[in-house]
Point group: C2
Chain length 346, copies 2
């Protein structure tokens, strides 16, 4: 049953076994037309019997196709986003016989362009997946366009028409999130923005504002703080918000990590959540359900988005006429225990 395979079986072996020429084998392997069914069967049989696998290097050398896709990503501390991106991209690659090469980037970085160029040329990837926020870094997108390397961007701020791009309705989701707070009677609702370089930050903020507006609540800039999607910035922002003469009774953090910072700050002040302060996050990362109290948050279908993006990218590389999805993916509000009706002040 088990055999080490010392001898390489080539296209010639298959051709001989099947009694055809190598070109015919090649046609079968590449699913080309103009092969009689009977012939195809014969070849397929020989391939199976011989356990033939086309040599990738020879294929690439001759056919100019590496069957390699690159994932250029920001190598952040918070990894759960990347985990989903990776899994989705890997799935798409595997389903299509492609392999994935990684290119982690430290941001901000003066010579990203050089690194990406090195990666794109040296690693000879045919296409590149660009998860947020990299779809919005001109140094990267411009370079890739110049290099003529097809790109699929996940959740870019302003989608390029020549790129594939997928996104989700996180604006509406933030709107819904703010609404659960409003419906619970909260009126002074703080907001912690995400990193300004991420397209999602502005979108989520807009969702928050729309929710206020829709319910006739006056927007107050004093209740808004700039965060950077990390724990510390969330904690700092919460501290400032809670120091206000009229502190908010609820805080919307633009992601879970910052919400964790808010929770931490509240604990340090002896504030009870959700008794004294309601808190919501965004992303439904693993930490959201492990914190106390478990966070009300929003789940994005990141893995599906990544798989779709990578899948479309590869299909495009294969000459198919692909198109970015018309509709954004749907986010889902996850209600847990970090929110409660506002305490009556009387």
């Amino acid at each position: 049953m088990a055999e080490a395979g010392p001898k390489k079986v080539t296209i010639f072996d298959v051709a001989e076994r099947a009694g055809v020429s190598i070109k015919t084998v090649s046609r079968v392997v590449n699913n080309e037309s103009n092969v009689r069914d009977a012939t195809r069967e014969k070849v397929l049989g020989a391939i199976r019997e011989l356990h033939y696998k086309p040599n990738a290097a020879a294929r690439e050398l001759s056919g100019k196709r590496s069957r390699l896709v690159g994932l250029v990503y920001e190598n952040a501390q918070e990894f759960s986003y990347l985990k989903d991106v990776l899994n989705g991209t890997l799935d798409a690659c595997e389903a299509r016989g492609y392999s994935l090469l990684l290119c982690p980037l430290a941001l901000p970085n003066p010579d990203i362009a050089a690194r990406v160029r090195e990666f794109a040329t040296q690693a000879r990837v045919e296409g590149i997946v660009l998860p947020a926020p990299l779809g919005d870094v001109p140094a990267v997108t411009a370079l890739l366009q110049q290099l003529r390397i097809p790109v699929a961007a996940i959740a870019p701020k302003d989608p390029q028409p020549e790129e594939i791009n997928v996104s989700c309705n996180d604006g509406e989701a933030t709107h819904s999130l703010a609404e659960v707070l409003i419906e619970q009677g909260h009126r002074a609702i703080g907001f912690i923005k995400g990193h300004p370089d991420h397209g999602a930050s502005a979108v989520r903020f807009a969702g928050y504002r729309r929710a206020l507006e829709r319910h006739g609540i006056a927007f107050s800039a004093a209740l808004v703080r700039q965060g950077y999607f990390d724990f510390d910035s969330g904690k700092t922002a919460a501290s400032e918000l809670l120091d206000l003469a009229e502190p908010p009774s609820a805080i919307v953090a633009s992601n879970d990590d910052m919400a964790a910072g808010v929770l931490f700050e509240a604990r340090e002040r002896g504030l009870s959540v959700p008794g004294d302060l309601s808190v919501v996050g965004f992303d439904d990362t693993q930490i959201a359900s492990r914190l106390w109290p478990p966070l009300t948050t929003v789940r994005q279908p990141i893995m599906q988005m990544a798989e779709t993006a990578a899948g479309l990218l590869i299909d495009k590389l294969n000459g198919e006429a692909v198109q970015s999805p018309d509709e954004p993916f749907e986010c889902e509000v996850v209600i847990r225990n970090s929110t409660a009706p506002v305490a009556s002040t009387t």
Copy 2:
């Protein structure tokens, strides 16, 4: 300055420019001997001027070397371990001109062997990095040995002599961890084991037992529970431990995720940590410092271990006579606020 590179510069171009044969260029590129210094300089100059990059596919086709390394890993929920493994491995690869291919595995899985074989042969990796617990899965290690693919295992239970393997002293670290509890007066110390398939589980448990022994504390099997390195199993184990007629005053969880489960369970019961119960984790994952209270835990140099393992692997592939490190890497106890002296019972 910036130019799209439509024309491929090949070894012939370099040879012509330098006034030598392609073989000489090849020698220079591959750092072979038997090239006069003056000639070498000329070639190097031509390479630089022309921005010559050897074609990887041609190299592989001709030379049998793919310059590809594989990372076969367990695709678990908890990703922070993999994040460090990935970063370390990537660093080692980049420093040596190798690329990394990923092979996520769902465990347990009946046909891992088939998947790994597919990966190893189809992806034509020269060597494979096997982070725990995969270094201890016979279906995988046996296959790789049969395929003659060099392996570097990170923290395997029983290191194979023909493999490269790196580990850390997490046994001693657990010993130290238990000691901080003992020194705080704790005598009834619960222990939650890790996943039985992970080599680290037994090692850490042994460290705990040695600490008890050293301080003359009787070991009680009643205070030990089997966990699986995940939040839920930690929570369940804590629940059982706290239901005991004589519950422990402290709990050692074999990793942070389980410790988070313990914290959660304590909160649900209205127990204060560390007031009523001290808790320690292991790994110093990101969640450890975001939980309330922040966890006392142990930091492992996983990234360094991974970089060392991958680096040695590649050096070995390049024909160097490498050897696994003699000494295990050092772990570091991180004291935070989840531990306190035991409350006096009088």
